[in-house]
Symmetry: C2
């Protein structure tokens, strides 16, 4: 096994009505002045915002609010909220929403403790300090609720970049499966694709992997497939909703990446260019790129692709595993072809150019040349 350091200090509060305890949790950590960040006004209409805000007031925690975070969250919204947090003297950021909202909260938390522009972090400046981060996660997908990462899009430069820092672990994340039961059918299947993408990146790209880590990845994928099918029939099945959410958390909280050899995130790298340029939902971009990338890449890890086919779908041939995953995406109705995303050849050329630039930044430009990225996209037509 390869050496590793692992520490994940985030406290998870999982269960019905836990969001109503948020004020209590924040009080335990000494929070007194919070910026609440959220996305759509639905969190107000549903009463969720008020349930959480009330729990803050009961603990004497003051707050201001900033709404309107969109999926593929932008640095401009982050900058707006950073200015608000600084003016207010916030000691904490509370996200009520999905992964986009929480990723924004993390960037805001770092930006509020920094004199320069928050985008500097995404260009390489290390995060030295951050406000305390809390969240009620309303959509399971990104795993942001139990990790140290944040992905933000700079809409001016069309760069979708990530930051990572120990300062960005949430203090407390609330996962209430019932709050996730109102997610639309589309976002359920996009989320399924996202969780599977988080699972397969290192699974296929790391040359050495202890089997105990493979088991964990396969557990997450099998759980997502099983529970997605249950939820498409019955969105209110809270056990399935809970397992789906927990698979999302486990897929990217560090545990699936321990003791393995170096690995990449090529599907995410390429998809980030897709959603930066054409603003497609991240999960929809991933379900298009994944089967194509797998076909393109499989010859490099034949044994692992064979294992995937067997463990996930009970099939003997590596290629059949890839087809089965694509067929499953088709079945649950998340896109598998570029044209379903409305990406034409002109846009595609921009995406390829953008991804090739990102590959240079990620130091994988020898593998992910412009030609290679074009070849992968050709398999997604």
């Amino acid at each position: 096994m390869y050496p590793f350091s692992f520490q994940n200090p985030t406290r998870i509060e999982f269960g019905l009505d836990k969001e109503k305890e948020m004020g209590k949790y924040m009080h335990e950590y000494g929070a007194k002045k919070a910026l609440i960040i959220y996305g759509s006004e639905r969190v107000k209409q549903s009463g969720l915002f008020e349930d959480v805000a009330k729990s803050l007031r009961e603990q004497g925690i003051e707050y201001i609010e900033c709404g309107g975070v969109k999926s593929n969250p932008t640095i401009s919204k982050v900058r707006e909220a950073v200015a608000m947090a600084k003016a207010f003297g916030a000691d904490s950021v509370l996200s009520i929403g999905g992964g986009s909202c929480l990723d924004s909260a993390k960037a805001i938390a770092a930006g509020a403790c920094y004199d320069g522009d928050t985008w500097d972090f995404f260009k390489g400046t290390p995060v030295q300090k951050a406000l305390m981060i809390f969240d009620v996660i309303t959509l399971a997908a990104t795993g942001s609720e139990m990790n140290w990462g944040s992905v933000i899009t700079n809409e001016e430069t069309q760069q979708k970049y990530s930051i990572h820092s120990n300062h960005l672990f949430p203090k407390v994340s609330v996962i209430n499966p019932k709050l996730q039961a109102t997610v639309s059918r589309d976002y359920l299947v996009y989320s399924a694709a996202d969780i599977i993408a988080h699972s397969i990146e290192a699974y296929f790209t790391a040359e050495y992997r202890p089997e105990i880590i493979d088991f964990l990845v396969e557990s997450n994928i099998k759980t997502v497939i099983r529970t997605t099918e249950i939820l498409l029939n019955n969105p209110q099945d809270l056990n399935a909703r809970g397992e789906f959410a927990w698979a999302a958390t486990l897929a990217l909280n560090g545990l699936t990446h321990l003791g393995i050899s170096p690995y990449g995130f090529p599907n995410h790298m390429i998809e980030h260019s897709m959603s930066a340029i054409s603003d497609v939902p991240h999960g929809a971009g991933l379900s298009v790129i994944m089967p194509a990338w797998m076909q393109w890449y499989q010859s490099q890890r034949p044994a692992q692709f064979k294992r995937f086919a067997k463990e996930i779908f009970g099939l003997d041939k590596a290629e059949d595993g890839i087809f089965a995953l694509k067929a499953w995406f088709d079945k649950i109705d998340t896109p598998t072809r570029l044209e379903q995303l409305g990406i034409d050849n002109k846009t595609l050329a921009e995406i390829v150019e953008n991804a090739a630039q990102t590959a240079i930044r990620a130091k994988v430009e020898k593998t992910y040349t412009k030609e290679a990225i074009e070849a992968i996209f050709a398999l997604a037509k």
Copy 2:
């Protein structure tokens, strides 16, 4: 899924030579005066103690030492070390050894911050405070390196009890597979039994279990079986050693108990009476009690026992899974019958009495009556 709170702040440093960084890790947490606790003099003869101690001196960390911790660690040794820690003004306890040593370190850390007798905690006084805990774990089994528990034996009262507290998570645990490669053949197989025991308790006793949790438990058991067989042939296989160690950690760091309905630790409860009275190795006691308990208990969870047979051994019948586990214990040569432990009828009667008392303390006396415990032991003859 059932509601849960989960937080595990322990930092794991996994890999070769990580023990030589212990001083650096402790310095990061502000440690200045440590009590080093260890068991056998072998940690000195091997040079391990000096490697670790040198790293402390390099960081200006003063230390005193207390050796001689035995397996089934005793409150008398803990009391001795608590007095030393208090006199020295220690701010931290560093364990260099296996689970017994680390469990002692946890009790010492709590006792050094308490005016009364350390055994009070085991009688129910909550731990309010503890010195910082660090460890180099030289035997994988108890999972103590990433959890909040400690099990100590009061040799006067013949009580083997546990405490749990958020204050007892180690700050940093070093897992170096190479340090574990010198574990004797006997302790390897006892450890295998211990990890499997940690895995099956909630697996069989919780009525409701999300499948994602079952997958994780089964991953740990399958990993232990596979890697034990590798290690019996080649104790120096460091990949297998590492996976074995990581399975031990994952089996009892909280992750396998999330979202499930209430559960018990009956095998541990009964075994603790065995090792409290007759001082058998904990894992050896467990490999005797487990197959017997499983036979006695299986009718209460037929579906789960069927699942176990299928997932772990590829067998169709529930009972065959139990026989397969017992046969595997026989194959690796860890005891499966009381007589192999040298426990005669007189001692057994004392053990039954002790376990029945513990059952009252654990509020499971309706299920684990004296007659029930006798019936379980009858299956282990």
